[in-house]
């Protein structure tokens, strides 16, 4: 059993009686269980988030579709406005939940939190909260962006969330981050060799198209991979992999159904491995840079939120307090 970058356990890339199976991690079962729990948590959090959004939409109704003058005429305006008892409450709750996002990095660093569940679970929580917070804050803002402080706060939130999504993508490209496979370069190259042999075997000695020949050329790690190059390769990887898979599909007539499927998977993995090998150092640096920026933006977001809250308190908007 091998795992791809997405944590998906698959069979060997190729089938063949003469290919020895890859060694399996002794923690595979435990890791698999963790991922199962993670998927369940993600599902529950998604349901919770959707229900929350539905509740907020129903509570407001068509109020959120009105312009400022029309809203003033509505008796709901007193409650649903950002400073209203409902709007203000939504903002407070959403902010508190968003601040709970910092529990994830805290979990990764605080030893006293190690008993509070595995890090991936907290990551799932972190991602879910990060995705829901901007949406809920919209209802607090009543879908209006008159206040620059508030608008800037929201913009910062969106930026943080966006960087989080990017980082989550980069994270998946970094070798060894899944824990199921070694992140060493030698291991990557070994995997590459295995995949290439299998592809060669499936395709045959003759008939490999040029793009496949290029793909099958052994990747060479760059001595100095820049952040920009790594970032560009990472951002281009989905497209590269899609083209490669499409090319593999054109070779399906030579193989059986299972063989064609295995070929596509192998090609995709080879594209991935090529990227990881060639930008072996750059990808890690990219992730590290992203992490720093994401954290910084998050800190700034907190500062902006604090400024927004301070302004509100300064003008007497204390909610029920």
């Amino acid at each position: 059993m091998i795992e791809d970058g997405a944590g998906k356990m698959t069979a060997s890339a190729t089938r063949g009686p003469d290919r020895p199976p890859r060694p399996v991690s002794p923690f595979a079962a435990e890791i698999a269980a963790i991922y199962r729990k993670r998927r369940r948590l993600a599902f529950l959090l998604a349901i919770l988030g959707l229900c929350t959004l539905a509740l907020l939409a129903l509570r407001g109704g068509t109020y959120y579709l009105l312009d400022s003058a029309a809203r003033l005429a509505r008796p709901q305006d007193h409650e649903l406005r950002p400073s209203g008892i409902w709007g203000h409450a939504v903002g407070i709750v959403a902010t508190l939940v968003m601040l709970a996002n910092f529990l994830y990095p805290l979990r990764k660093r605080a030893s006293w939190m190690r008993q509070m569940g595995p890090v991936p679970m907290w990551l799932t929580f972190h991602v879910a909260v990060g995705l829901m917070t901007p949406l809920v804050i919209l209802f607090h803002a009543a879908f209006r962006f008159n206040n620059l402080v508030a608008t800037f706060t929201y913009g910062s939130l969106v930026v943080v969330v966006t960087t989080g999504l990017i980082g989550r993508y980069i994270y998946s490209m970094v070798p060894g981050t899944s824990g199921l496979r070694s992140g060493e370069l030698a291991d990557l190259q070994r995997s590459w060799q295995d995949l290439m042999a299998g592809v060669r075997r499936d395709v045959g000695e003759s008939g490999a198209p040029a793009w496949l020949e290029r793909l099958l050329e052994p990747p060479v790690p760059a001595r100095e991979s820049s952040l920009a190059g790594a970032l560009g390769a990472v951002l281009a990887w989905p497209f590269t992999a899609m083209r490669a898979r499409a090319g593999a599909g054109s070779l399906a007539n030579r193989l059986s159904i299972e063989g064609a499927r295995d070929l596509r998977e192998a090609v995709g993995q080879m594209v991935r491995l090529r990227l990881q090998i060639e930008f072996f150092g750059g990808i890690k640096r990219l992730l590290s840079t992203w992490r720093f920026g994401h954290s910084l933006l998050a800190i700034f977001l907190v500062a902006v939120i604090a400024a927004h809250v301070a302004v509100s308190l300064a003008f007497g908007y204390r909610w029920i307090f």
């Binding site: 003058a69 003033l72 206040n147 402080v149 508030a150 800037f152 910084l296 003008f315």
Partner: protein
Amino acid sequence: MTRFGAARALLLGILLVPLAQCAAAQSVSPGPLSQAHADLEGIKSCTQCHEMGQRVIDANRCLVCHATLQARILARRGYHGSVDVLGKPCEECHHEHAGRETPLVNWPGSQNMFDHASTGWRLVGAHHEAACGDCHDARRIRAEEVRSDLSRHPGARTFLGLDTACASCHFDEHRGQLAADCASCHGLDGWKPAPSFDHDRSGYPLRGSHRSVACEKCHSNAVDPSYSVAAFPQPRAAAYLKLKPVDHGECSACHKDPHAGRLGAACGSCHSVDSWTAVAAAGKTGAFNHDRTRFPLQGHHRDVPCGNCHPIGAGGAPVLTGFAFANCADCHEDAHAGQITLTDASGGAIDCAACHTVDGFTPARFTLEDHARTRYPLAGGHQAVPCLACHPADSTLQKTASRRPPHVFKADPTRLAYGDRDLRDCQTCHVDPHGGQFRANGPGHPARACSDCHQVGSFRGLEFDHGRDTLFPLRGKHAQTACASCHPARGEHGETTVPVYRGTPFACDGCHADTHLGQFASTGATTCADCHTEDAFVPASRFDHGRARFVLTGAHAKAKCTSCHRPVTVLADRPPAVLYRPLPVACPDCHEDPHRGAFRLAGGALSCETCHSTAAWERVGFDHDRTAFRLGIAHAGVACASCHPAGQTSAPPRVCAGCHADPHGGALGTACENCHLEAASFRDPGAAAFHERTSLPLLGRHAAIPCESCHADRVTASWTGLDPRCGSCHMGDYDRTSTPGIDHRAWGLSTTCVNCHDSFRWDPASFPEHERCFPIRTGRHSGVPCLGCHTSLPARPVTGCATMTAACTRCHDCDHHPRVAGFECRDRKCYECHPNGGGN
């Protein structure tokens, strides 16, 4: 650049952006301010309204700027000084930070739902219907403080500063003629009408009709020279009513004198303010006498409102002169729509007055005599027909509008003229109830006009003579039969139709069934009239049995018809019919032979009629004279059985002695017939005939006297040897003539009586001697008694024919005798010229 250096740069750049914006108002503002507070934008101005740490804005901060409003609040004036608003935060109604275009006032519900009464000025009447902007116009603001606010804030809008005085908003349309207190006349529902306006408070209280006169009728329009379209409030128009001063001292100040001064200037002497038409009432009471005009009111004209004849002219005054009134048509529309044009004898048109009076158009004076001058004089029943029956209302006729309405006739004109329609044709008006039967439809059926039978008196009063006007004169029962019996009005299937007149059968069998079942049919038809009359079928009075094969005579004629004609059943489904023919006609066919064949002829046939007749069996038509013994008069009356007793088979004797005994005892022989004629009885032997054979035939009275007068009794008398001379019987008569007549013996007259007397007339005697001399049996002297001419009797002495006793002058007058030669008025002288007693 290192990683951390890049991060610092990034952080610095990010932070610089919001810091740079901190100075901007929108950095903390929840939204742009309204247009009115636009100058308060900026973070430095936040505390002008907001108190830090206080959510709710203190109203006093608002009133720092809105000082005008503060004054009103303190004075408890206006909306903000009302109980509903006092103490409430401003932001409850005035929402800020909603943008420049968002109204600063959040109206509860809507602006139109705002209770204006909370401002201290309840909107009533037209004010309630007005839009807010109609009153809350900056140009209407009277409050100086508000005007100064507006001057400081151009473009600002406010509801403050208005005055409740009418003039503060409304232009004085009266141009200052009246007091400024508009409410003294006008209401809030509208300028017009002015409910509180009382003209009686003016110098001319309105009385009567003046109350209903429009203002502008008395108050003319004036033009405001200062009128400007751009003026605010804008006047309605440059023109306005000139309310004062208005000349009202005299009626003529407003009213034009329609009488042109002819009736003076004191209008009130005839007219009243209640109505011009009150003139009519005034005229009746003597206040206005229309008779003074050229058209005295008579009849209904007295009841006509003045305005009907005197319309209001262009000047608003009734037209009293200058219009025609001589003819009815000058005022009244022609209700006859020009159908008739009455002309007088000279051909000139006649006015309506020819038929109508002023007492009313109806009833018209159009009489029957007038109708007689029309194309259709009314006669008979037409005279009783209502006019409308012939002259109905016709909506197609166009009435001529009168020159001076409104005297119009509501009803449609009646159709009077019928153009070229033939009025002689009854069907012009009347429906032919006979269904056109009397139109010409072939030979023998010429067209018949209604007037041939009907008359104008009444359709039911017929001049119809069935005998004259039809081919079937009604006689007898036909004349008594109801018309419908022959002319039913019901069809074959029971439907009601027009009585059929023409085409009714004439023949008897067309109506009557042949009860004789064709016994009398000839060539297929029965001529009932041969026997029956129209008086009645029974009896068949026209029936003459004599035309039959068996003529009824005698007893046959008296016998009942049913004695010979018995009813027989011919058809099972028909009632029995009397058999008339053929029937046997011989006597034995009906009668039994009582003689038992004794009179059968040689061939065996009976010839009853030889002796018998139909008169009666008993009346035997037997002529005994054809036998060997002729029956005389005496024998004719003897019963047959006297000579022919029943059962006697031999012939009876023929001599007299065979049946009669001789009363003379044989003295006169056995030839009885010598005296006793057969025509007489034994007791009357027929003396006249017998005596003819004697010496004295019985003539005259001698024939009438009994035999015993001369021959004693008939049995024992002597029938022979008598003296036939007159004297033998009449000597006594001779002797008895002494008085008064002529004494025969004294005169010595002959005893031969026949000289003067005859057996037919004894008296008067013929006196033939006198006749020879002077006729007295004939001529003028016949019948004159003897002593009428003779002075005495006997008239002796007589010499020839001259007598001394004739006295002519006893009777004859000599004065008138023509003077002839030799005349002498002396008795018996006359005889010389008049020997026969004649005239000349």
